[in-house]
Subunit: 533 residues, 2 copies
């Protein structure tokens, strides 16, 4: 058992006066204090963390990929070594329940190990080599070799809704570490003790692997100023963030206004449109209704990929389908929400939507009295013309809420999809006979999202190489990147080209013998061989 | 011969009242009007251009790579068909001379054809495929397939110093076209007629290839408001820019402040530090001096990669070397500058530097009277302690100017290099016996630049796959990207993942048979085969 102190962890060293800080953990099931606290990080602590990170970077930027891989494996092992304490503390702080948290722990250690595998394979550095042409006229062509290298210290902001997988040692941290970048995490104020436990695990891994202590620091904070101080620190070179549009945009704006602007990889959730074509409705409406209700209510609807918008075409089965979803939503148990801010924010968001013209509430649309933070499963309905006319109807309701948009036909549906702004995902349910109509819909949707799902549901983001968890603004501030899957590492790398360097001075990935045995593009050809071969 | 009208080219159609606009071409050799004019684009013209681009994108985003490749080849052919008129008009407008412009034309058509080759090879879409695991417990894993797709209409700002290769049909435009993105170019006000000729060539290619007319528009402008109107238009999805820090940062700030922020790929030049170690100075000081003077004065010093900072260690040969460079710079002919703004800006920049403490002017440091815009080849000198203390000494002098920074020894040199801000390139001259010292220097420099050159000179950016023409701010606003070389296309692509889609609805790059025969990562293995194989 680790004794929690609520201190910052600055380069492995607990910092600050100890327990009884201003960030008090609340059990969302009881609204009572958990007894866990953290202190708001001071400007001096943030500065010390970033300075230590910069110092660490001067070492770790030279580390071989295999050394970074070993570190990631050790982080995973140290997380597992936290054992039951982690699960119970996190359950107290989030109300997410042990089965979900156990699964999320596996996902978190799994993605650390996936990045370790990526590093051991080694080709992620994208080595491209154009060899010299000494006889070229009118002047010889030099030898030019390019590869990706780490960008420097990264700030990571934990999410509230994934206390493990998008938090202190979550995907942003894992991918920055994999790149060779030190990380300063700001823990989410809803789960200070969970953050501290992860902080201890990562710090232990740093020490055990002999990495410089500044490779990782954890600061805690609930004040906007604390996060801003981290983002504008000149030592920070990039930011990973998962959370709300309001917070993500504020961080983006602060980073863009720096004397030296830096990239902000903010994933800010969305409404994840789903289209259900008439054939699918007729053939398997019940299964789709079951799946939709499951997806909307999973984790109390607190997922970035929650399907918050459902497009249907008016027809014989349509109202019956909406009624079936409404009934199931009304009957499904309402889960605990993470904290009072989510409950309040959700209530305000639904109120605003219902106040718009031509929006009906079919069920729910109210907070539920009781010991826990809780909101009734909610179904809303509007028509396609109203949806097209009113951007407010694209606002996210972060919780178990979905809005049906009823179109008058296929053309009307396509017109309506055209007005969608950026989202993480889009889903289409269709039968084989509807593939032509589906192709036209997909052609529109693919400009709006990072992932398109066929006859499935958007929740449950697979952690695989091909995953794209991103999308056009306002889903993210960086549509060309993902925060899930192995390509997430690219956010924290940048290319450097070497011209005419002696072999011994080149990084191994670019040396002529290809000692790492990685895939490279040499004179326009893909090869794993050495240049002599 | 094309009759120049000075009109905007909006989706292939000349727009506006015709000759005698507010943008008057000036011959920099005579400071007399060329007789060429362009009109300042109006808000309505800019809006029309972007709307046409958005409309075009709804078609071109679905084009196969081979179709885009054919278009790029046709653009190159249409540029060549401009013949002598292009060279003579550009020479009148820029004073760069026919040999240089002939070479730059070849570079411009060459890079268009390089992108065509990249498209025909096809692997640039970075297809990654993770196949379904239907038997996975507790739930099946879906099939997920990811590839890169075009981001949408792009705004390109022409540079003054490369009227062909970084202008209307230059690298930014070529890479955006290659991605499948329509382009609206703002021509540089120093060469309105050159821009118009290129605009006619590209429009001809659009028509000949049957592309939608809105795939390309050319607007002209010298007012800041004109460029801003283009950048903040909601239809624009990304910006390519080459020019000054002041202009680039203004565009970056405008793009970041949009309701929907977009990426700005601004390449803003720099001082390109060069380090000369004592062994190289002793062994081949004369050759290095010759090469340095050639590199500083090439194109009248008007290159983003101009070596504007030279670090040397005080020693027996050092002052003789500086004197040799100074003599050669004094003797070398001073070339014509592109326009009065560059002459004035250069004069002010050198004046500011000379006014700083401990900076000596060894030669030049004055505009040259005469018929042409011209500035004397200039050598400045300071000491390493003053350089470390004064960020002003890292400011760029855009022209034939270099500043020697004299260190007291190797450690002092390393300390000095640590204070450097971002640059496009860094160069080191060293002998084989100095490789250990060089390694330490390279280790510092690689964090500051996009390209490191060994025993060479930074001017002359090879257009090869491995080229990295970029670097940390203030060299660029996007250090993870390049504006030269095939990977420049990545700036205008973003990933989309497809989950469980029927094969027929997938883009060909992701279909199971791999009909394009491209390199893909399938279940973590690189392969060019079909999935059945």
């Amino acid at each position: 058992m680790i004794t929690l102190t609520g201190q910052q962890l600055i380069a492995g060293v607990p910092s600050g006066a100890g327990q009884n800080g201003s960030i008090a953990g609340i059990n969302p099931r009881t609204k009572a204090p958990t007894g866990y606290y953290a202190q708001e990080a001071t400007a001096a602590q943030i500065d010390a963390a970033v300075r230590a990170a910069s110092e660490a970077f001067s070492e770790t930027r030279g580390y071989r990929a295999v050394r970074l891989a070993g570190f990631l494996d050790t982080v995973a092992a140290e997380i597992e070594a936290l054992g039951e304490q982690l699960l119970h503390v996190a359950d107290e702080e989030t109300g997410l329940g042990l089965p979900r948290l156990t699964g999320e722990r596996g996902r978190t250690t799994g993605q650390l190990r996936q990045f370790a595998a990526l590093l051991r394979e080694g080709s992620y550095v994208e080595a491209i080599i154009d060899r010299a042409l000494p006889d070229r006229q009118p002047a010889p062509r030099p030898d030019i070799r390019r590869m990706l290298q780490p960008i420097g210290p990264v700030a990571v902001f934990s999410a509230s809704n994934f206390p493990f997988a998008f938090a202190v040692a979550g995907g942003d941290t894992a991918s920055a570490f994999a790149a060779g970048c030190p990380v300063v995490v700001k823990g989410h104020p809803s789960h200070p003790a969970t953050s501290e436990l992860f902080g201890r695990a990562v710090s232990a891994a740093v020490a055990r692997e002999g990495f410089p202590a500044g490779f990782f620091s954890l600061i805690q904070g609930r004040e906007i100023a604390t996060g801003q101080a981290l983002v504008i620190h000149p030592g920070i070179q990039a930011v990973g963030f998962t959370g709300s549009i309001r917070a993500g945009r504020a961080i983006y704006d602060a980073a863009a206004a720096r004397p030296t602007p830096i990239p902000v990889y903010a994933e800010m959730g969305r409404v994840n449109p789903m289209v259900i074509l008439p054939g699918a409705l007729a053939a398997r409406g019940t299964a789709v209704a079951d799946g939709l209700v499951h997806s909307v209510t999973l984790g109390s609807g607190q997922f970035c990929t929650n399907p918050g918008l459902v497009f249907v075409i008016d027809g014989p089965q349509t109202q019956a389908f909406i009624a079936a979803v409404t009934d199931r939503m009304g009957e499904a148990q309402s889960g605990t929400l993470l904290n009072e801010y989510i409950e309040e924010g959700l209530g305000r968001a639904v109120e605003r939507t219902i106040a718009e013209a031509n929006v009906r509430s079919l069920t729910g649309a109210r907070a539920l009295e009781g010991t826990a933070y809780c909101y009734a499963n909610t179904v809303l309905q509007t028509d396609s013309a109203s949806f097209r006319a009113n951007p407010q109807l694209q606002e996210e309701h972060f919780g178990p809420v979905t809005l049906f948009v009823v179109s008058t036909g296929e053309d009307d549906l396509l017109d309506t999809l055209h007005v969608l702004v950026g989202n993480l995902t889009a889903t289409i349910h269709a039968e084989a006979a509807e593939e032509q109509a589906a192709a036209a819909i997909i052609s529109v949707l693919r400009e709006k999202v990072g992932r398109i799902i066929w006859n499935g549901f958007p929740t449950g983001v697979e952690v695989v190489y091909a995953m794209q968890h991103g999308g056009p603004y306002p889903a993210t501030t960086a549509p060309a990147t993902t925060s899930v899957g192995k390509t997430a590492i690219k956010r924290f790398l940048r290319p450097v080209a070497y011209q005419d360097l002696p072999d011994a001075l080149l990084p191994p990935a670019l040396q002529r013998a290809n000692p790492l045995g990685i895939w490279r593009i040499v004179d326009d050809e893909w090869t794993k061989g050495s240049e002599e071969a």
